[in-house]
Amino acid sequence: MKYDLAIIGAGPAGYVAAKKAAGNGLKVLLVEGKKLGGVCLNEGCVPSKTLLQAAKTYHHTLHGETFGVEADEVRFNLGKAHAHKNQVMDRMRDGIAGLMKKYKVEVAFGRATLLAGPAVTVDGETHEADNVLVCTGSSPAKPPIPGIDADHVVDSSGILELPELPGRLVIVGGGVIGCEFACVFGSVGVPVTVIEALPEICPSVDPEVAVVLRKELEKKNITFRLGAKVDEIGEDEVKFTLDGETQSVPGDVVLVATGRKPNVSGLGLEDLRVDVDERGGIRVNDRGATNIPGIWAAGDVTGRAWLAHAASRMAEVVVHNLTGREDRMRYDAIPAVIYTNPEVAVVGLTKEQAEERGLKVTTGKIPMGINARYLAEHPGESGLCKVVVEEGTRRLLGVHMIGGACSEMIFGAAVMLETELREKEIEEIVFPHPTASEIIKDVFMAVR
């Protein structure tokens, strides 16, 4: 049977594309090598968020005195947290399977290889398709550090399966993943050391936000060693160089979270001469098309954005272009969140990025503490909201927040960016009171 669209990879790009394409009447084959939902559902976003919520609940219970909630002998049971995590994942996987069934998407499990034509073989069986969408995602990158293959060294997938809490956790890499797991384990009482090569954590977010995040995390049993280069992972310690001196930090579990790399090997891309860029991602245009007609790519495998929701959107763009709807991928208003406690949520350009583009900008920032709802719910926490505005036009270019559960309100800023709203339009939008989201409106009073 010939398919209209064969999709390799059932992560947030693949299953979204499958549902959308099938919903538009295309005959769709979805091939998955592991489990429906991809890294996002099985080894990434979803399980890490359940553990973060577990840690946050423990933390709030332990520190509820401000609200008059007093509790003794509060314990953290990792086994029960894992059970909840697994239940969530099972339920979401069932949900995807149900969706695929409902939309009559053919699902095949096995290793897929691309053939010219195009066609896809799955465990020896060949399926022809007019179009193939490659969305095989990414895997943790493994830096060449001596000792990295030891049993007590885990990556972002392995750490989700730890049977018990580490005595001391060392995290190599102070990026988004490193900070989230530092928050999980630090919040439940595990001493955590994060070793970061750069002078500040989370280089992808606004520098002022990164500083607030680091200081908040330092309140949760987490120590940061910035500007440090890891030399070796030993049995019970990690050696690193800081300011020219060799130092070490003890740890019985080491998480290596130094980035991810696109999954491009073993797919037959080389034989088809599909173009791969210098960073190892499949090169696509703004419609998701590769250099080979009929072969498309979306998500982490393109080496861009590295976000599940960006992957879904990229997949949607491909399907729109396959079904006659003009659509192009835009990267300028994709929100990014660090699900630590407090959360970081950003969208759009930082001041530095805007200036690199030659824009003249002005910024404004206010502490989250001026917001009644935030103050009521997050005593003792620091947060801030910062906006980047184009000079002259007063067009909003970026919103950068840390505090509480700000991930839930960043979409509002994304809408403002997508519609290129200016200060004077935003002024006219009514925000519900009291909500933390009001900070997005109030921050403009600080813009000079």
């Binding site: 192009r328 835009r330 036009t393 067009r395 519609t419 290129e420 709203l421």
Partner: protein, 455 residues
């Protein structure tokens, strides 16, 4: 005392000039001789200088307007002085309405408005539709206006397809279908800078974003420049040439040994240097005198064969190709021919050439040899019936007297002729004579002619 500045007459045949750029703005102080504007005829560009010192009171035209010669373009006077009396009675559809000085609305498109203008400055020779007055409703149907108002678009900006170019409802509907929704920032750019959205914007569901907004007529990934001035003239002339003539190009080459020996001997005797191009021009002119069929204009129902040769020289300038003419070139010595060609080329490059020096050619010479071109097919400079293209120096094998092969430096000549006016064989004979004249070139064409006739 206000002094009007007029568009000068640039040569007998020039009726109007393009005002390409203003160098001053109203209120600027200028000296006598200050450059006010850059103007361009179809062949050259010039600076318009101020005849007096004073304040620029008003500019009557916009950049890129085609201004009739002798029309007032600006007024220089004392600050605060009223200059409206000097405003020419402009009759053009494209000029923007001017609130402060335009005549009051007229009831009919052709009604004279001389009451409000000074007769001395009115231009009667330019004819085009009358400028639409601001607020005028004559060009938009009420239904179209209503729909346009509801949809937030300016009906005056649309191209009407109704009777007499009237904007009707379907024009507004068409504009709406081809216009995406604009983001808040994009609509500001449309309103304040006149930028236009693409049919499909890059934002949400095709919404046009600020970054999508383009100058009208722009093309993505390209720098778009209007075709005007000299470029427009060249474009028109080239199409006119290729569309109305039967062009055929003949190629030949000449051995440059004699020409080079002549140049070397001149140099050694201390005479001024002449270029190979000068030598070719010199031989060309004298060969043309013996072939009047080639020194001619084809005028459709008649052919004009000229007694004298006025040689057009193709000159590459930053503003485009220009062809200055060396009048009566046949009467000039080699030295004067050489300096004449050099002088004309310099004037073209500096933009100081007079329009009258750009007309009247009987035959044109074009040389791409220095740019590494061997052969090419020159395009006729109509109504001339022939043009000679000169290529670069290349090595060519020739058979010697004893059958041996020798290599000589040679230059290719490409003669394009109008087959309407002349046949291939006579053109080939001309080219053969020219090659021979160049191969025995001695600086004295009379010698050549003698030599040839004795063959």
């Amino acid at each position: 005392m206000a002094t009007p500045v007029i568009m000068p007459r640039q040569g007998q045949s020039v009726e109007s000039c393009i005002l390409t750029e203003w160098k001053v703005a109203p209120g600027d102080q200028v000296e006598e001789g200050s450059v006010l504007a850059v103007i361009e005829t179809d062949k050259a560009s010039f600076d318009l200088e101020s005849p007096v010192a004073g304040t620029v009171l008003d500019l009557f035209w916009e950049a890129d307007d085609d201004v009739p010669v002798l029309a007032n373009v600006t007024v220089i006077g004392d600050e605060g002085e009223d200059a409206s009396g000097f405003r020419p009675e402009i009759e053009t559809a494209s000029a923007a309405p001017s609130k402060d000085s335009a005549p009051p609305p007229t009831s009919s498109a052709s009604a004279p408005t001389s009451e409000t203008s000074v007769p001395a400055t009115s231009i009667g020779t330019v004819s085009s539709p009358v400028l639409a007055e601001e607020g005028s409703v004559s060009g938009v149907s009420p239904r179209a206006r209503q729909l346009a108002m509801r949809s937030g678009i300016d009906p005056e900006s649309l191209l009407g397809t109704g009777p007499g170019g009237r904007v009707i409802e379907r024009d507004v509907q068409g504009a709406l279908e081809g216009t995406p929704r604009l983001s808040a920032s994009a609509s500001e750019l449309a309103r304040e800078r006149g930028l236009k959205p693409p049919v499909h914007g890059g934002g949400l569901s095709g919404m046009a974003l600020a970054s999508d907004m383009r100058e009208p007529g722009s093309i993505d990934g390209a720098e778009v420049v209007p075709v005007k001035g000299i470029r427009k003239v060249i474009a028109d002339r080239m199409m006119q040439s290729l569309g109305n003539t039967a062009q055929l190009t003949l190629h030949a080459a000449f051995d440059i040994t004699a020409a080079q020996a002549f140049r070397k001997a001149r140099k050694e005797s201390g005479e001024p240097k002449v270029s190979l191009n000068d030598v070719i021009s010199h031989a060309l002119i004298h060969t043309l005198l013996r072939h009047p069929d080639l020194n001619a204009h084809f005028l459709g129902d008649r052919i004009a064969r000229f007694e004298k040769v006025s040689l057009g020289i193709a000159v590459d300038t930053t503003r485009g190709l220009m062809v200055p003419v060396l009048s009566d070139a046949c009467c000039l010595s080699l030295d004067n021919l050489s300096s004449g060609i050099r002088g004309l080329a310099e004037e073209c490059r500096e933009g100081t050439i007079q329009p009258d020096q750009l007309t009247g050619g009987t035959f044109t010479l074009t040389n791409l040899g220095l740019l590494g071109v061997d052969h090419f097919t020159p395009v006729l400079n109509v109504p001339e019936v022939a043009i000679l293209g000169v290529g670069g120096i290349s090595i060519r094998p020739v058979r010697g007297e004893n059958g041996e092969v020798n290599f000589v430096d040679s230059i290719a000549l490409s003669l394009t002729m109008d087959h309407q006016a002349i046949d291939g064989a006579p053109a080939a004979r001309f080219l053969k004579d020219l090659v021979e004249a160049l191969e025995i070139y001695s600086g004295d064409p009379a010698e050549n002619e003698k030599g040839e006739s004795s063959k």
